[in-house]
Amino acid sequence: MMGGSKGEKPVLFENGKRIDGRGAGDLRPIKIVCRVLNDADGSAYIEWGKNKILAGVYGPRECIPRHDQSLYRAVVRCRYNMAPFSGMEEHGRSGPNRRSKELSKVIKEAFENVIISENFPKTQIDVFVEVLQSDGGTRCAAVTAAAVALADAGIPMKDLPCAVAVCKIDGKMAVDPGKEEDNFGESDMPIAFSPRNGEVLLYQMDGLLTREELAEGFALAKEASAKIREIQADAIRKVYDEPKEERFLTIIKE
């Protein structure tokens, strides 16, 4: 889903190993740091494989323009944006495009489900996601980081959503596709869960899957999402266990 496939398709799955050496159910390394920005009400930075993504939350604040206000609940807004230098390929264009608008919409809808918005009538809650470096699976990493940023902002939620994609590569189902697997795989299915009850908050899919493969994909995603949920909770806990005076973004170099 990251864009045009380039060059020859590599072997993606061989002898139980994937192109980067992972097994079918293995996630890439994930690190989350909560509270990295000063002005935002809540913030989180995630490194997921080579993805480097920053999420910031503002609100509840006065909803502008006023004709967008609801008398009954907070309006949730989301902007997902990729930096023009985030990709390996050519310089991107700044500003929203069709892809980023769609992703902003589905991410917003995932959070509309869990945010207890009726507590804050006439307000808006803004979720801003900036992809600084992309490596396949940015929307799932974005949801995962934005959930932590919302929690950091103290926005009441029914649950802390997390997301992961599953893919079909050389006929095998696997979790968390990297960029190559995304470009050359046969299917891609990003899912965001509400881990408490297993409800699906974001769901997209492309490619061809049988009924059995779909079930296997869900099982893989569920198993992985439990691990992601732990990493999220650890990141939030750390802010309170080790309070820090200064908030700084520290990017971990490979």
């Binding site: 002005d39 930096a83 023009p84 310089h91 900036e130």
Partner: protein, 253 residues
């Protein structure tokens, strides 16, 4: 900003003091993280106080400008990301963002630190260098912070490998040649008091600002902003301070 805060800050500045205890010609704490990103050809994360800016460099193939057929293209843009401040909104670039990008661009361009002729590939085909400045957190003096991030990103940049007039992504041929390190010093002015590195609160209350971009030996760009005025004598003395502070800033790059 509320009136009490504004009055307190003004009173302090007029007495030659600052709310955070700094001297009038001191910077806040500055950090520069070099090359934190890998997909970009160059990158850097700079912070001044609570302001945070990340800059990225990308190369593309472009057509040269008709009046400079032998020169590559250099373009700077700045985004005031809505997550950086409650004051920033989504939408097309604001005047503030455009001014910021152009001031940083002018400093780098007019210093001659980039050799744009080395970006020539063949007739009608040159390299374009895009420097994108992303404001992540806003607590004042975004110009100096952006200039530091931008310069550091250029210093970390690798030249792309070119074959048959195309960029081979992920392969590089040495570093981007940089002649001089360009840095900027931005001063705020309130009444007759001048202070280096204004915070966001100080920016809200001040009459004007003056930015001087320097190489080790020259002034290479300048910008006055705000309704207030500066005198010729002030500009001369601030250039002396900028040349001195420039050494400090360059040592961080």
């Amino acid at each position: 900003m509320n009136e009490i805060k504004r009055d307190t800050l003004s009173a302090l500045l007029l007495a030659g003091k600052r709310a955070d205890g700094r001297g009038m010609h001191d910077y806040r704490k500055i950090t520069v993280q070099k090359a934190p990103l890998q997909n970009a050809e160059g990158s850097a994360l700079a912070t001044i106080g609570k302001s945070q800016v990340i800059a990225g460099v990308k190369f593309d193939i472009a057509t040269p400008f008709a009046d400079r057929p032998k020169e590559g293209v250099f373009s700077t843009s700045a985004d005031l990301l809505p997550l950086a401040s409650h004051l920033f909104e989504t939408g097309p670039p604001s005047e503030e963002a455009i001014e910021l990008a152009r001031v940083v661009d002018r400093g780098i361009r007019s210093s001659g630190t980039l050799d744009l002729e080395s970006f020539f590939i063949e007739e009608g085909k040159v390299l374009a260098l895009y420097l994108d400045i992303y404001i992540l957190d806003h607590d004042g003096n975004l110009i100096d912070c952006s200039a530091l991030a931008g310069m550091s990103a250029l210093l970390s940049a690798r030249m792309p490998k070119i074959e048959e007039g195309k960029i081979i992504r992920g392969e590089y041929e040495g570093k981007l040649p940089i002649k001089d390190k360009v840095v900027t010093c931005t001063f705020g002015k309130l009444s007759d008091k001048v202070f280096l590195d204004p915070t966001l609160d100080e920016e809200k209350g001040m009459d004007c600002r003056l930015t001087l971009a320097t190489t080790p030996n020259h002034l290479c760009a300048a910008q006055k902003g705000g309704w207030g005025a500066v005198s010729e004598r002030e500009i001369m003395s601030l250039l002396d301070i900028s040349m001195e502070k420039g050494k400090e800033l360059r040592s961080l790059l």
